[in-house]
Structure formats: structure tokens, C-alpha cells
Amino acid sequence: MGKYLVKSLLQMIPVLLLISLIVFVLVRVTGDPVALMLPESATEADRATLTRELGLDLPLYQQYGIFLTNAIQGDFGTSFRYGESALPLVLERLPASFELAFAAMALAVVIAIPLGIWSAVKRNTFIDIFISGISVLGKAMPNFWMGIMLILLFSVMLGWFPVSGRGGLTHLILPAITLGVSLAAQMTRLIRSNMLEILNQDYIRTARSKGIFELFVIGKHAFRNGLIPVVTIMSLQFTSLIGGTLITETVFAWPGLGQLLVSAVNTHDMAIVQAAVFVIAIFVILMNILTDLVYRLLDPRIKYS
């Protein structure tokens, strides 16, 4: 286990280097930080001074070296919009994003597991077709539209929940549903097809032929083995969760990392963009390692193979 962990953590390095290179090339080569930072009235001398101060007159490989050294120390520069160091600004937004993502994922699991199993057990009946229909609809509906429609129905017309912002549970419900439903749609379909495969296996037939109560067959025998794919599905959905969080946060003015990143992109606040991209990338990689570990815990066979 320890060896595996060290190996995975070491494998993060080339991926992070590549990401740093992409971000560096995009920001330094295509954009002009000097033009972005100075007002239009700035003189040529001002530009030259700032260029020298930022080290932009150095050869590119040296600039990349400096960029990398700073990035390792957590220094992504100062946000010109907030006038503060970028990394702390990004980190302080994380709890809000975690709260939303966690609530959405929990909701998705609660919806998708029973629906997926039910759909598989009642294969090709009306219930199966109905559940499949709903999950296709959930996939086709852009989640920002669903968010707006939920606001229209529950906030504007019924007045049950606040329109936007972060606060207590009432603030969390609509954004969590918006994000959770689109995740659940995908998850239901995948759980259904996994369960179908398991239900066709010999040991299920044996359990049934022994006269075991059907609910027990499905709950204990089938679902326990069905749990492994669910972990994979959750890890696969992790990237759609991040994408969805970006958009949902914008719809509901949820003060998370996504909202900060989108507004930074719109205002060309590159220090924030860089810091946010790095934080998210590290997070995605760590999550992948974590899923792998959970995988091994759930299925001890993987260890020995």
C-alpha cells in the first residue's frame, strides 16, 4: 500500500509539469501581461520598466524556470482585481465549493442507486422505460437551464428557497439539486447496466434457486458486488462534477472556486486563473489516487494481481 502510494504521488509530477507548461505557454506567450496590467495611457517607458520588473525580457526558458520555482512555493502572483496574493484567494473559496459538490454527489448517489437497481431488476418493463426516459432527459438538459427553471419555480413562484447566495440549508438545496440531478442521470444508467451484468451471473441464480428471499438476493449478493463499479463511476464523474460546479456556482451566485475562476477568466485576472487551475488539477489527481485506494479496499483481489 505504502509503495503504491509513493509511486502514484511520484506519477503526479510529470502531469503537473505538463499542466504548468500549458498554463505558462498560454499565459506568457499568447497574452501580453504588461498591456493587461497597465492603463492605456501608460508611456513606453512605463511599459519597459514593468517588462523588466516582471522578468519578461528574459529568454522564455528562464521565464518558465522562474514561473515554476514560484509556483512550487505557492506564489502565482498578485491578483490585480483583489490586490492580494492569488493562492490564498483561491483556497478560501474551497470550502464553499466542497459543500456544494459533496451535497450534490450525496444526492446523486441517493437517487441513482435505488433507481439504477430498480430499473435493472424490472428490466424492459414500464418502470425501466420510465426511469431510463428520465435519466436521458436529465442528461439532455443543460444544468444551468435546470437551475434557472428551479429558481423560477421554487424561488420566484413559490418563494420556498432563496434565489442565490450561500447561507444555511435553504440556500444549498436548489444548487445541490441542479448539480445532483445531472450526475444522477449518468449514474443511474451505469448502475443499471452493471446490475444487469451481475444479475445474469451464476451465483445469483444459485442464490435464487436456494429459495433466498429476492430482496436479500439483490441487496446482499448482487449489490455488494455492484458497489465496485459505483466507485469507478463516481471517480469518472469527478471531472463532470467540477465542470458542473463551475456553472452551477455561476447560476446561483454561489461564492465558490468556480465562480471566482469564471469571473477571473472574464476579467483576464491571470494570477487567479493559474492558481485555480493548479489547485483543481492537484485535487483531481489526488481524487484519482483515492479512488484507486478505495477500489483496493473493496476488492482485495486487486492487491494480489
Binding site: N124, I148, V265, N266, M270, V277, I280, A281
Partner: protein, 309 residues
């Protein structure tokens, strides 16, 4: 083009394609008629295509014509609505129906264009990786793994932040960030095809790599490629709408459904129609593409159908 005949001595053992293709098409169409969702999907996609093609005839107004007097007019059938504006007007008095009609062009162009770009990149890289193997394969697949570690929307945000929004930029950005699935599928298929007898014999009689790839390998990868593209068009349409919604995709004079939704969001409390209709347009179009894509998968890749019940 020398198609080997049955009597041709020493002909390449290319699998007989032409006849089976025609038979496959007929069989596929019969299956389409039998599959309800496939039919619904085909009809929806056809209608959206027709709307996009005949947009100038179907639109009742210039999609960008601003009319401050008529701002936020409700749809024609509601009180205060006018028969001039079928689905009402937005915050600048622009006709929502005409904007939805023109928006279909953008959705389809970006949806199909980006999938073509990513398909082309993925196919070239996938074939190269599998055919040449060793370090070429290692580099390409490592690059693909690294791209998978970054959520695509994040990558697109960064690129669009630097390059700026616009329709063609969007096509290339979505295309350039979404090729990984193509590369993996194509690589997998080529790796197994490479060992098949007809490819081996082609190499043995001295066919050049280019000829082997284009004549013998690519045609056989086509069906997995089409199946993947069907699914990708749906996600790309949503992706374009999302980026436009965030203000990073399509800019005026082009009209995007996602951008319309973003305009309508602020007026949802008073004028529900501004955000509702473009969202319906996206959902219906994507639903059509998904249904059609599922049918394509069932016809071209029956193994997947078995797996998904």
C-alpha cells in the same frame, strides 16, 4: 481503385466491403423504422437541420434587431403579447423565435465542427500511436493521460481566457481538448487490426504504411468512430451552450442558445420566457442527438447494445 475480384489471382485479401455496406445500410434503416426512440431522434435532428438551413425564411425578424419599445414582450398567446413576436422578446426587444432559429445554426456548426476536429486529431494520434508503437505510443498516450487529469472545461476556460471568445475559436478549442476518447478507441482498434491477416499480407507484399493505414485500417475503424461521434455531438452542443452561458463562447452577431439563457437569467423573476425557450431548444436538440446516437450504436456496434440491455 483496384478492388480485388474473386477470380483475381494474388489479390489482396481485403474483406469484401461494398456489398456488405449496402446491405448494412438497408438493415440499419429497417432497424431505424422499428426503433421508436431512433425514429424520434432522427425526426428531431432532421427538423433542427431544416430550421438551421432555412433560417432566413423561418425567422420573422433580424435576430439582432434591437427594439427598445418592445422589450420583454410576452409570447403571442399571453396577455400583452403581440402576434409580431411569437415567443416574445428579450431585454433588448429582440425577437426570441428568430434568435432561436438562428441559434440552431451555431449549435449545429459548433457541435459537428468540433467533433470533426477532435475526431481528426484523435484518429491521427491514435493510428500513429498504435501503428508505430514504442516511444511514439508512449509519448502520445502519456499526453492523453495528462489531458484526462484536467477537466476539459477548465482547459477550455484557460484557452478562451487568452485567445478570446468566438465561434471558430470555440470549434478549435473544443476540438483540441476532446480528442482523447477518439485516440484511445482508434488506438485499441488499430492494435488488434494490425495483427489481422489481411493487414499482415498487405505489408508482406510491400504496401507502404500510408496505403495500409488509409485503405485497410481506417475503413475498419469507421464504425467505432461514428458511434463515438454520435455521443460527442450531444455533449459538444451542451458544452458550447455552457461556455456561451459563461460569456466565453459565441459573441454577437452570432446567436447562441446558451448566450440567450444568460441574458434571460436576470429577468427570470419578471419575464420567464426569455430563459425558458432557448433552454427547451437545447434540451430537445440534445435529446434528438442522443436518441439518434443510441440507434447508431445499436446498428454499428451490437456488442454495446447487449451490454446496455
Amino acid at each position: 481503385m483496384a478492388i480485388p475480384t474473386e477470380s483475381g489471382a494474388g489479390a489482396l485479401p481485403v474483406p469484401p466491403k461494398k456489398r456488405s455496406e449496402a446491405r448494412g445500410l438497408k438493415k440499419g434503416l429497417r432497424q431505424l423504422l422499428r426503433s421508436k426512440t431512433g425514429m424520434i431522434g432522427a425526426v428531431i435532428v432532421l427538423i433542427v437541420c431544416l430550421i438551421a438551413i432555412f433560417a432566413p425564411l423561418l425567422a420573422t425578424h433580424d435576430p439582432n434587431a434591437v427594439a427598445p419599445i418592445d422589450r420583454l414582450k410576452p409570447p403571442a398567446w399571453l396577455e400583452g403579447g403581440s402576434s409580431d413576436y411569437l415567443l416574445g422578446t428579450d431585454n433588448l426587444g429582440r425577437d426570441i423565435w428568430s434568435r432561436i432559429v438562428y441559434g440552431s445554426q451555431v449549435s449545429l456548426i459548433v457541435g459537428i465542427g468540433a467533433v470533426l476536429v477532435s475526431g481528426a486529431i484523435g484518429a491521427v494520434l491514435g493510428v500513429t500511436a498504435a501503428y508505430y508503437g514504442r516511444w511514439v505510443d508512449a509519448i502520445i498516450m502519456r499526453l492523453a493521460d495528462s489531458l484526462l487529469a484536467i477537466p476539459t472545461i477548465l482547459l477550455m476556460l484557460v484557452v478562451l481566457a487568452v485567445v478570446g471568445p468566438g465561434m471558430w475559436t470555440l470549434i478549435f478549442v473544443i476540438g483540441a481538448t476532446n480528442w482523447v476518447s477518439y485516440a484511445r478507441v482508434v488506438r485499441g482498434e488499430v492494435l488488434s487490426l494490425k495483427e489481422r491477416d489481411f493487414v499482415k499480407s498487405a505489408r508482406m507484399i510491400g504496401a507502404r504504411s500510408g496505403r495500409i493505414i488509409f485503405r485497410h485500417i481506417l475503413p475498419n475503424v469507421m464504425s467505432s468512430f461514428i458511434v463515438l461521434s454520435g455521443m460527442n455531438v450531444a455533449t459538444t452542443i451542451i458544452m458550447e451552450a455552457s461556455l456561451s452561458f459563461l460569456g466565453l463562447g459565441i459573441t454577437t452577431p452570432d446567436v447562441s442558445w446558451g448566450g440567450m439563457l444568460s441574458d434571460g437569467r436576470q429577468y427570470v423573476a419578471t419575464s420567464w420566457w426569455v430563459a425558458t425557450f432557448p433552454g427547451m431548444a437545447i434540451t430537445i436538440t440534445v435529446l434528438g442527438v442522443i436518441f439518434l446516437g443510441d440507434w447508431l450504436r445499436d446498428v454499428l456496434d451490437p456488442r454495446m447494445k447487449l451490454k446496455n440491455g
